[in-house]
């Protein structure tokens, strides 16, 4: 019953968003913002096209590498700062202020180092995703109730058994929150990089369409990205809820 309610709520939101879109279209005019129906029709034509596939693939590849970097580096920093208390205490405020920094401004530095290359966009994406993963992993490890570790000792678990059967499951729910936020921000970073300076990718496609005033294409690509992010987030949230319910 709860699940059907939630589905109904999602449908309501989608309808409201479509109506708002239509209303905005009526207000600002067709040249500025195409209405939903033609845009979705355009979308149906665009998605199977080779041009779209190429750019979507470019974004996906870049996002994939950036995500691996975000997760790998973020988890490593998080575990280190969670286990080594002093590093955590010293580093946490630094990471937090980096987290709240508008990182777009640093993109030129990345460009100066890597040039207009895939590695530059990957680096920029990873710069966004690393911090939430690191911060939440660190906090997950720090928040393990000491009684878990005492129990592990009284049960005579070895170091590895403790890590695998106690520490890993105890930290997992919070780590997954970090992974979800890291996913979101990595995607944002990759798209920003493509919007600012790139010759391929969906971010580039949007900016290019804007400059050519192809508003249908611009909105259609935005809708695709919106749907991709929303669905991925829903999936990760679902995993998160399952893990939290278990704890």
């Amino acid at each position: 019953m709860i699940a059907t309610n939630r589905a109904a709520d999602t449908v309501i939101i989608l309808i409201v968003l479509l109506l708002a879109w239509q209303a905005l279209h009526q207000i600002v005019g067709a040249t500025a913002l195409p209405s939903p129906v033609p845009t979705l029709a355009y979308l149906a034509k665009l998605v199977p096209s080779e041009r779209f596939a190429e750019n979507a693939w470019a974004t996906l590849v870049c996002f994939f590498y950036a995500l691996i970097l975000s997760y790998g580096i973020g988890l490593a920093i998080g575990v280190w700062m969670g286990v080594h208390r002093l590093s955590g205490a010293v580093g946490e405020p630094i990471l937090i202020s980096l987290y709240t920094l508008p990182k777009v401004t640093l993109y030129p530095v990345v460009l100066l180092i890597f040039g207009l290359s895939l590695s530059g966009r990957v680096t920029f994406g990873a710069m966004h995703g690393v911090l939430p993963v690191a911060l939440l992993t660190m906090s997950a490890i720090r928040n393990i109730p000491p009684v878990y570790l005492k129990s592990a000792r009284t049960l005579h678990l070895s170091r590895w058994q403790t890590i695998l059967t106690v520490l890993f499951p105890a930290t997992l729910p919070e780590v997954v929150v970090g992974l979800r936020i890291g996913f979101t921000l990595t995607l944002l970073g990759v798209l920003l990089a493509e919007m600012f300076a790139a010759k391929q990718g969906l971010g580039f496609l949007i900016i290019n369409a804007m400059q050519l005033l192809q508003t249908e294409e611009m909105v259609a690509v935005a809708v695709v990205l919106f749907a991709f992010a929303a669905v991925a987030n829903a999936l990760l949230l679902w995993i998160e809820h399952r893990l939290h319910r278990r704890v």
Binding site: D9, I13, I94, I96, S97, V104, P108, L188, M195, A222
Partner: protein
Amino acid sequence: MSRVGWIRIAVIAIAIALLEASCRLGLIDHRVVIPPSEMADALVHLLISGQDNDQILRTFGIVVLAAVISAIGGFALGVIIHALPRVRQSLDPFFATYYAVPIFIFYPVMIVIFGLSAIPIVLMGVATAIVAMIIATLNGLDRVPQVLTKVACVHRMGRIATALLLKLPAAAPHLFTGLKLAVSYAFIGVIASEFILAPAGLGRVISDAYTDFDNRKMYALMLLLIIVATVVNMFLHAVDQHLAERRGIGKA
């Protein structure tokens, strides 16, 4: 200051010194990164010359405007949504998804609609910030203890008195957390918009300096942004901690 604080300063100082040394020794190409001392020097000269001061003020003005709109609007919307449980329930999946979607992809749409002016930038600032304030308001109102409603009854207080004298102060720490997020999100939204495409502003100037290979100016302004963002965030963070501690709410 605590030992940890000193170590932190030392770590940052060493990192800056290493960067300085690498640049001076030529390990890092001058065309890629300039030494930190030169960045600071360039920043001081730039500010004294005043050539970009209007751009800087414009940007910070827009950030403040977007943050104020988000804080007031987000609070008002939060109060309204909280009063309507059915609406709130429907909006929950929307809030859960909002920050997962790179809303930035709609910035070009805003430009096409409103033209290349300050309006789309303010809107992007508000769009990134306001939902954080709404969520914080809902959280704060959720955590107003039930018993306060009873206390209000015992003191024979009306709805408005209860809201102003009990619910608002009870929710205050959460509202401040929302304000803190709204400010830093507005900052990110505005700077990113200016950076990608804008008629003027700090982000635009940095972006132009990059295209013109004017590294001194580019790094000077980046340094300025980093300093301002860090100082503002540290200040808000300190106030936030102070409020939370006084209330005995677990500090982050």
